[in-house]
């Protein structure tokens, strides 16, 4: 009998440990053949200019609910053994992790696809906003049209985009 999927969504100020988190997806089970992780990291520059830090603002309550609904949607679309999303808020210095997605499945196709789906949706639907701190002051990061296009690739009925080319 299939074990239930391990699902974890956290929105937190504190740093996280990717390997400790992903161990939760594989520990005590032997049905996981593929584990995909993505970590978003704060770069030290934006458009060639050094940055001091990023500050992430979020909408408490909605951020968690929005991520949880997309994780549930990913679990409906692909046969996942588990999924983890952690997204930080507050001030984050260059080199620090901002967020992570991990997906586990029997085979790699589902794990890669579910991770890509979750990232695409987090970028465009999860209520977080990045502010960049530079020597000249603070400014809000503008949304990218590329991110909307990445999310649009996944808007079809379940499974219909699995073979979609870029």
């Amino acid at each position: 009998m299939a074990m239930p999927a391990t699902i974890s969504v956290k929105v937190q100020r504190e740093p996280f440990d990717v390997s400790a988190e992903t161990a939760l997806l594989t520990r005590g089970r032997t049905d996981v053949g593929a584990l995909v992780t993505f970590t978003g990291i704060c770069r030290g520059d934006e458009n060639g200019q050094p940055i001091a830090a990023l500050t992430l603002e979020h909408y408490p309550g909605m951020a968690e609910a929005e991520i949880e609904s997309h994780v549930a949607e990913a679990a409906r679309r692909w046969p996942l053994a588990g999924a983890i999303v952690i997204h930080r808020y507050g001030r984050i210095a260059p080199g620090e992790d901002i967020m992570m997605v991990a997906t586990a499945s029997s085979h790699r196709a589902a794990a890669f696809a579910a991770a890509d789906f979750l990232m695409a949706y987090l970028k465009t639907r999860a209520p977080f906003w990045k502010q960049v701190e530079k020597a000249g002051g603070k400014s809000w990061v503008e949304a990218k049209a590329d991110d909307d296009a990445a999310a649009a690739r996944w808007t079809g009925p379940a499974g219909s985009n699995d073979q979609a080319a870029e």
């Binding site: 603002e57 909408y59 209520p127 977080f128």
Partner: protein
């Protein structure tokens, strides 16, 4: 009808407050109507909503379009396009 409004990121900065309670006239039926009504309240609101097409909204923490009816809403939020991840 009293409703809690919440603002985030540069919408919050332009309006100058993170949230407020407002009493809405009956003529304000949709999220789009609410944005128009807010613009009429002062120049800080006009500044925040000057490019209304880019502003996103949520009713009770769910994304909605400007045509969405606000009847029964407890909390309506306005914010710029999201840039997390």
């Amino acid at each position: 009808m009293a409703i809690k409004l919440r603002y985030f990121a540069w919408v919050r900065e332009r309006i100058g407050k993170p949230e407020e309670e407002v009493e809405l006239p009956a003529a304000v039926v949709t999220v789009g109507d609410l944005m128009t009504w807010l613009v009429g309240r002062g120049e800080e609101y006009a500044y925040a909503f000057e490019n209304a097409k880019v502003i996103r909204a949520a009713i009770d923490r769910r994304h909605v379009k400007p045509q969405a009816a606000i009847a029964g809403a407890k909390e309506i939020a306005f914010f710029p396009p999201m840039t997390g991840g």
